[in-house]
Every structure is written in structure tokens, then in C-alpha cells.
Subunit: 220 residues, 4 copies
Amino acid sequence: MSEKIKYGVVGYKGRLGGEVVNVFLENNHELVYKFDVDGESQREKPSVIIDCSLPDVFGKTIKTVIENNIPLILATTGLSKEQLTKLKEISTVIPVVQSYNYSIGIQILLKLTQIAHEKLPDWDIEIEETHHRFKKDKPSGTAKMIENIFKDKQVNVSSLRLGNVPGDHIVSFGGLGEVLSIKHVATSRRTFAEGILKSAEFIVKKKNGLFSFTDVIFGD
Amino acid sequence: MSEKIKYGVVGYKGRLGGEVVNVFLENNHELVYKFDVDGESQREKPSVIIDCSLPDVFGKTIKTVIENNIPLILATTGLSKEQLTKLKEISTVIPVVQSYNYSIGIQILLKLTQIAHEKLPDWDIEIEETHHRFKKDKPSGTAKMIENIFKDKQVNVSSLRLGNVPGDHIVSFGGLGEVLSIKHVATSRRTFAEGILKSAEFIVKKKNGLFSFTDVIFGD
Amino acid sequence: MSEKIKYGVVGYKGRLGGEVVNVFLENNHELVYKFDVDGESQREKPSVIIDCSLPDVFGKTIKTVIENNIPLILATTGLSKEQLTKLKEISTVIPVVQSYNYSIGIQILLKLTQIAHEKLPDWDIEIEETHHRFKKDKPSGTAKMIENIFKDKQVNVSSLRLGNVPGDHIVSFGGLGEVLSIKHVATSRRTFAEGILKSAEFIVKKKNGLFSFTDVIFGD
Amino acid sequence: MSEKIKYGVVGYKGRLGGEVVNVFLENNHELVYKFDVDGESQREKPSVIIDCSLPDVFGKTIKTVIENNIPLILATTGLSKEQLTKLKEISTVIPVVQSYNYSIGIQILLKLTQIAHEKLPDWDIEIEETHHRFKKDKPSGTAKMIENIFKDKQVNVSSLRLGNVPGDHIVSFGGLGEVLSIKHVATSRRTFAEGILKSAEFIVKKKNGLFSFTDVIFGD
């Protein structure tokens, strides 16, 4: 059992923010600071702030964590280069976790894919991703993360769009006589809140440094 | 139990021809005529001839079946337009079954796909096919057969090439809240010989006519 | 585009009831009657009533539809034999649709399974169902519906319990040389509301009779 | 490119032995010793002997490798405890690789499963195996190898029997919001011959010791 964490959420009324509050509550952590379109409220100084909002709130969040020396978990997507550089800068003073995907399973998939590729360097590789019909971009950001593992070779990525599928990813390795595949299926947004919980439990023990979610799961 | 069939095979030494001989033997049918690069041999007049050879043997096969009035099953692939027209012509006199794919499961998949599409006209559709790395053409002929079912809409086909996979095909239908898919996996060439067996049992009862393998499975 | 339906919902505050209200609203149908723990309210006489509540509300619902001669869609699960008999009885006077699963995809899966079984009577059959870890009963009700298709043979059903999977069902047919499978994956509860919408559009045109959701999808 | 290996095969006329001879030939290794029911023949002293035969030939094989100081790869299944003890004994003098499954992909699956379990200790686990209808034992030996990874918990294993499926294995991990699975599909016996090739290339560099196929793939 982990110790109780007093935490804050920026964007607590959003879909991800709401899931974070639920999951942290189930784990007996205490919400002491919140910020959203309806304003800011603070009961106590939090020992970690989670930002699940949008890039334009970034400046305000950075100011808050720097002035009060509070560890930061950043779950905002679509950050600019300047914002990412700023994160690196402040991470010399406070600990920061930043990722575009807090799914634990996807982290494991990336790790397993890397190991499989090292052990099966000559096997054929295929990546597949399936998402809801409303997703316009192909391939998905996560599929690109998988693709980046195979620096040395061109890999085919198949993108399927079906109904309202939250997100499936499959990496397959084909040898003569066998096929090995690693598959991840997202069934709800809750998984991302669980990943943020793990990140919070990880970061409260750090002095400073910029960490990825991979560091959280596999150690830095 | 079906009656014993006295049959002939053109191309009996090939990979498919060999499977046909095995499967017919297991079902107690009798090989009475064979033809291959090493010549021709006949013990009795066959009640059906199966051609599993190449398009350039076509002329010789047609001559044999016409002169002797023998039902024909054609499993040769890559026939020319002229050859297909010729088949139609002779089918007024003798019964002919012609198909590029004698897998029973693929026939069922085609049928089920058609029904699903009729009942789910607005759902998203995705076709996937996976074959061995040596298969150069994309998409597979069978994937094209599936694609043809959706005359009214543009359908995305994903082609994967992995190891020595004999052939997988998946058709998926995506609605808001659910995905329905129909999948066929070939595990050996034997399946085609089984389809030819069904075709033989079907054709020996016919007077004349040109039949597809769909007719054999679902009735004409 | 279908005509506007004035409808009522019993149990409109429940999870399924809420989805029904959303989906009907998107299709421009009008909620004119509702009933739940907080009481009853009626603006106009509905042309169909949908009951998404619990078996103990059954009596009250029946009374309402009989007295006012309103078509009924029953989505309550766990009805007693007496309640099912009662439904049959009232269906001589008003039209009734009753089903334990209003997923359109599952209906298609059942139909396709039946056709595949007829065409492949000798193939091996395997049924698999995967649900969330909180589901105690094995196999699922839907797996039993699939099992019932194979009256003539004993069929193995594998039940998997994983995370919070909403519900996957697979029926596989295995021949020598190939495997054909039909798979349904539920991605959200919305699918059931869509099925109830189809049932409403079906039932408002009927005079009387007891219909299953299969009748709605495939015609009676 | 590896150096040419002069090798011997016990049981070279069997199905696995035949595949071994093919795969080694493609890699330019030279068959210098063979033994089967039709007798023994030797052109040169081999630098490794591969036994793909049956347990009752074990004594003769051991005698040959000990007297001539030849590294041994044992692919025979169903060895007795005494035979396994004997292997351990002779491995102090000559190097020995022994495994019941020389599929490289299965080794990777085992490794990935172990890593996933370490990182996701609280997730639900499900194992599935599908084999041809002629396989009587449930679950498969490989499924048991997977099961052994989860020493600390009871794991459900589903066994499916379909057509002539060579062998599929799936391990799934279910968390709240996601499912991660690792799947292996065997498409031909060739895969085992490839594993034996890797074992031969590994063992010719060893002085002595008893190695598993896991050692061959992941290092000892």
C-alpha cells in the first residue's frame, strides 16, 4: 500500500481530469488543489500537480509549480517545441514526468517489441492500428512510437477505421514457420488515469529530473 | 456416404494434384485416368476429369472432355478471356465447374459477408489479408473477391506480408458500439482438394452448364 | 429518414435508459413519458413504451401499456416464466418486442453462425467469450444463445475474464485445412440503445404480436 | 555468415529429421553422419549430432557421442527421468542442448510473458491454446510451460480443438481499461528445424554443459 498523496489537478473537469480524480480517490489520495475554467481553489500545498488540460494553460501551470516547488506530471498533448524545452529547463529544479500516452500496457508493448526485434532481427514486421471512424490522422501517434523502434528498417503500418473503437495496436513478427504478435486493446480512458497514478507515486520520491512514462514503468 | 466416382486428374504430379489424389482415395473414389509431363494413362473412362495443371494444357484437356463427353472441374489459375469463353461454350454440352479458389471456408466467408453487409449497410468496412513474404501482388485475389461484394462503396484493404503464412482474410464491420468480423485462416493446401471433392460429387449429377464453386456450396 | 416517434421510457435514469434517451434524441424522436424512482411524468400519449428497468416494475409497465393500448419494448433482463407468459398473452392485443440482448451485431453473429453451421455440419466448433473480471457467471448469456444453435452437438465454451472488457464473443469452425470464425466485440453500451431504436421503428407499424429482436433485424 | 558445420542426424528419415536436413543444407552445412531404421552411415566425424528420433534410441545415441566426444542436440520428446539424469551426467564432459520445443517464437513468447508479468503483477491472466482435433491431451505442453511462469497464481487455461491447426498459443493480461496479449502461431514444422540450426551454431563453440533452448536464444 502506498502512502497518501496530496495532489492537485489542472483541468479537473475534463474527461481525463475526471478519471484522474476518481482513480486517485479509490486509492485514498487527497485532492487539495484544483484549477479549471471555473477558477482555482486550494486547501493545502499539493505534493504533486497533474496537468490534464490544454497547451495554452501550460504557462500558468509552470508558474505555479516553480513558485511553489511542486513536482509536475504533464498529460497535455500537442505541446510546442518551446514548451518541451521549457520543461527540460525547469526539470533541473523540480521533477517532471511528461508523456503523450500514460497507458501502462502500451509501455509494456513498446518494451516487448524492442526485445522481440533484438532477438528476431530478420523476421518480417507488420504494424496495425485500429481506431474509431472519427480519427482523421493515419497512422496513430502510438503506431509511430512503435515504428520508431525499427530505426534500421522500413516497416509497413496498416490503419483501420471502424465504428468507435477506442484504439487497438498490433505488432507482428513473421518467421518461416511462425508468427509472433503483441497486441494492445484499450477498453476505456481509465487506463490513462492509472498510468498517471503510477507516475505520481514515482515522482513524489524524486528531487528533480525530466522523466518519460517509460522511466516510470521500467525505472530510470 | 457418396457413391464411388471413377475420376481422372490432369497434373496429378503437382502439389494440388497430389492432394486431390489423396483426398479422393480416402473417400474411396478411383483414379482411372491421369496425365502429366510423363505422359497419359487410362484404365477406364472417367466420370469426371479434374484439371489442376497450367493454362497451356487447357486445349488438350478441352479436347479430351469434349470427345469423350466427360464432366470437367477446372482448378487451373490464370486463364485467359478466350479460355473462359471457350469454357462457357462447351458447358452447353458438358457440365463444368470453374473457380480460382476451392476453399469451402472462403465460400462461406463470401456468403456471410454479403449477408452482413445487407443487414449493416451503414457500418464501416475493413478488409485485411495476410500472406507469406514471397507473395508479391497486393491485395490477394481472394481479397478482391471480397471487395467486389461492396460494389456501392470504396473499401480499404490492408495487406500484410509475414513469414510463410498460407493465407488469412478478415472482413470487419464497425458500428458505434460494436465490431463484427469474419475471419478465414488457411492451414494447409488440403482444403482446396476437399473443395474439388465436393465439386466432383456435385458435377457427376449434372447434364451440362457452367458452375462456380459458389454454386457447388450454396446450390445453383 | 424515419418519422418522428413520441416515446416513453421506464427506467430513464438507469445506464441503458440514459443511452436510449440520447440515441432517440439524436434521431429527433420525442420523449413524452418517463417513469423512474422519482416518479412518473407524461406530456402526451406515447406511441411506444420502452422498459429498461427491473423485473419488479414489470406489473406496473404491463398495466400502463394495456390500459392505454401502447406498443411495448421490453429490455428488462431476468424475467420469470410467469412474466414471459404474461407477455405472450398481452401480445394478442398489443405488439411487443422482447429480448435479452439488443445488440445488432450479436443478432448478425447468431444468423451467420446458423448459416455457417448448416453449410459446414462436420466441422469442429468452439465458442469463446471474454468479459470483465467482475462477471461471475460462466458462460455468458450470449454464449448460451450461440450454444443453442448447435442443438445436435456438444460444443465446448471457453470463458475468459480480463480487466474490464465489455464483452467479446467468437464462434470458430475448424475443417481440415482451414478455420472460419465470426467475432463480435462490444465497445460500448450505446449499441443496445441503437438496437432499441430499430425495435421502436419496427413496432410502431405493427398491430399486435410477440417479436424477438431477431424478428426486428431479419424480418418476421 | 556462420562457418560450415559437419553434422549428423539420428532419425534423419522422420518428419523433423527431414526438415533439419533441408534447413541445414540451405545454410551450407554438411551432413556427414546419419542413422535411422535402415542403418548407419558415416563419411566423417561430425562436430555435432542431432537426435530427432525416439526415446528408445537414446542409449545408442549417448554411446556414440560419448565415445567420440561429439556435442549433442536432443530433440526427442517424452524422455524418462533416468534419461534426463543421464544427460546431465554426460554434460560434464560434452555440451548438450535439450528441449521439448525448438520454436524460436515460443522462446520469445515465454520471455516476453515473464517480463509482462513482472511489470503487471496485478493484472488478470488468461492462457489459450488451439490445436488440431487429433490432439487428445489438454492443455498442450507449451501451455504448461507458459503456466509455469505464473508460479504465484492460479491461471485459467482454455484449450480449443479445431481442424488441423498446427498450434496457436495466446497469453493475455487484463487491466482496468486495457488488454495486452502475446500470441504465437505455428505455420509449419520448419520452425523447429530453424531452432535446431541455432542450437547447432551455439553448441559447436561450447566445451561442455547442459543447455536449454532458452539458453541458446537468450544466452547462458
